[in-house]
């Protein structure tokens, strides 16, 4: 079938062409800008620490280590085992501290409390402290993100 009139006027066609070109231009401009302003920062998959530094810890004490840009907390439990936490409050990201005499983690920002296993118990924190997987291999203490093999 032959149409008697074109479905587009010349103006509509040209406007569409120009608009499409502008849109494509905007996207191709924005994409690199967005890429640039969000830097790729991932937290580490694992950190390796010399076990010797942590061997002599008393039970119910903690030592900090660097977990990427955040503090990690290695805690020696009463039975001599170790637990590793990300030492950052699950409320709004402040660094927490361990109070050995109360056997609690404490966040000073909005008075958040966690028990010695990192379970939130009072104040605003909505979740337990994040735990990290821990293994001892020879001289080294290997700390991994949960879920990383």
């Amino acid at each position: 079938m032959k149409l008697r009139h074109s479905l587009f006027t010349r103006r509509q066609f040209l406007n569409g062409l120009l608009g499409g070109w502008l849109g494509a231009f905007a996207v191709s401009f924005l994409y690199p800008v967005l890429k640039f302003i969000f830097p790729p920062t991932r937290e580490p998959d694992e950190v390796i620490l010399p076990f010797a530094d942590f061997q002599d810890m008393e039970p119910n004490t903690v030592k900090n280590f660097a977990w990427g840009n955040k503090p990690g907390i290695l805690k020696r439990n009463n039975d001599g085992s170790y637990t590793a936490f990300v030492g950052v409050c699950t409320h709004l990201d402040c660094n927490v501290t361990y109070l050995p005499d109360q056997r609690k983690f404490y966040c000073a920002c909005h008075e958040g409390w966690y028990d010695e296993n990192g379970i939130h118990m009072a104040g605003p924190p909505p979740r337990p402290l994040r735990r990290l997987n821990l293994s001892i291999e020879g001289e080294n203490l290997i700390i991994k993100r949960e879920g990383v093999e």
Binding site: I37, P39, T41, K70, L92, D93, N95, V96, G123
Partner: protein, 358 residues
């Protein structure tokens, strides 16, 4: 006589090319109404005064300040101990910021309560709300720059708050921080916001705001507007300007007195790995928010407490922005209720802030 002619020639030469005489003519004709609420008319120029002081002291501080992890704290320490009169400059910058924000609040509340935002001044109000947000962002980014213990924790909390905004939250946090965590990149980025990005936006919006104020003239209180008889008026130039200058002089005096007798302090340099120090507090204008975050329980109806706080603030902000459109019948019942809400809001904000200090 010759001198006079040269002056006139120069003026007409300039005017032919710039058309500025229109502006001067406008200012010469401008009138400021006089009535029992006229005092509020001075708050706008007080904000401008403190903003001007911020610009000048900011220029000075930036000559010595170093926005890096290693140098930030020590460069501020250097400004305060080694650079001649540096401690006053920094103290004035810090105090003037507080004064400016205080006057922004007063300005805005007075407009809310006298309903000066009613038609045709809705856009003036809306541009003003943007200016408020920018001022708060100035304060928030500036607070981090000395990079001490308190400012680090405040920034960690502050930049984590947007994370609970649905959909875009995590992006906003990453954008503000320059990554997942607060690091040296955050400091550099905040510096960029504080001295480059925010000023550009602020100047642009300020121009719009001031233009709109001139275009619409001063608003009259509701009860005067309906009256028949003419309200007393004061010429803007020179009478009102002289009065403003008196206010400015007093304010400058107060500002410098406070800055000298209660100089801005500097804590020890922040450590990204150290636990948050006891007694962290944001700047006073964020205290009510801080207290809300503290008292909201961790879980309310399927939501985290902080998510609810953020959503409330967001909704409040949007309502606030559209206030002139919501409050469109100022003399009727609805308008009265909204005025009562304004007073309740003030009581709430002050109450929460005081509570946070106990």
């Amino acid at each position: 006589m010759k001198e006079k002619k040269v002056k006139k020639d120069i003026r007409s030469w300039l005017d032919e090319r710039s058309g500025l005489s229109v502006v001067f003519h406008f200012l010469r004709e401008k009138k400021i109404p006089q009535h029992k609420h006229s005092l509020w008319y001075y708050t706008g120029s007080a904000i401008l005064l403190f903003f001007g002081i911020q610009v000048i002291t900011g220029f000075m501080l930036v000559f010595y300040y170093n926005p890096t992890l290693e140098e930030a704290n020590s460069s501020v320490a250097r400004i305060m101990t080694e650079i001649p009169l540096g401690w006053i400059i920094r103290s004035v910058h810090s105090w003037s910021a507080s004064f400016m924000i205080a006057f922004v609040f007063i300005h805005l509340l007075s407009i809310w309560i006298t309903k000066a935002y009613r038609k045709p001044r809705e856009l003036t109000w809306m541009s003003g709300v943007f200016l408020l947000v920018l001022s708060l962002l100035f304060g928030f980014t500036g607070y981090l720059l000395p990079w001490d213990d308190l400012s680090l924790s405040a920034t960690k909390v502050g930049t984590d708050i947007p994370r609970s905004i649905p959909v875009v939250g995590a992006w906003v946090t990453q954008f503000l921080r320059g990554g997942e965590d607060v690091t040296g990149d955050t400091l550099t980025r905040f510096f960029g916001f504080h001295v480059c990005i925010l000023p550009i936006f602020l100047f642009a919006l300020l121009a719009v705001h001031v233009y709109l104020v001139q275009k619409q003239g001063m608003s009259l209180p509701l009860d005067l507007e309906s009256k028949e008889e003419k309200v007393n008026e004061l010429p803007f130039w020179p009478n009102f300007v002289y009065r403003e200058m008196i206010v400015w002089l007093v304010l400058i005096g107060v500002l410098f007195t406070v800055s000298i007798f209660f100089p801005a302090s500097l804590e020890k340099a922040a450590d990204l790995m150290a636990p948050a120090p006891e007694g962290i507090k944001p700047e006073w204008y964020f205290l009510f928010l801080f207290q809300m975050l503290k008292i909201f329980p961790s879980k309310i109806l399927f939501m985290n407490g902080d998510t609810l706080v953020v959503l409330l603030i967001l909704l409040g902000g949007i309502a606030f922005f559209f206030l002139p459109l919501i409050d469109n019948k100022p003399t009727e019942r609805k308008g009265k209720i909204i005025t009562v809400i304004a007073y309740l809001f003030i009581i709430y904000a002050v109450g929460m802030s005081v509570w946070s200090l106990l």
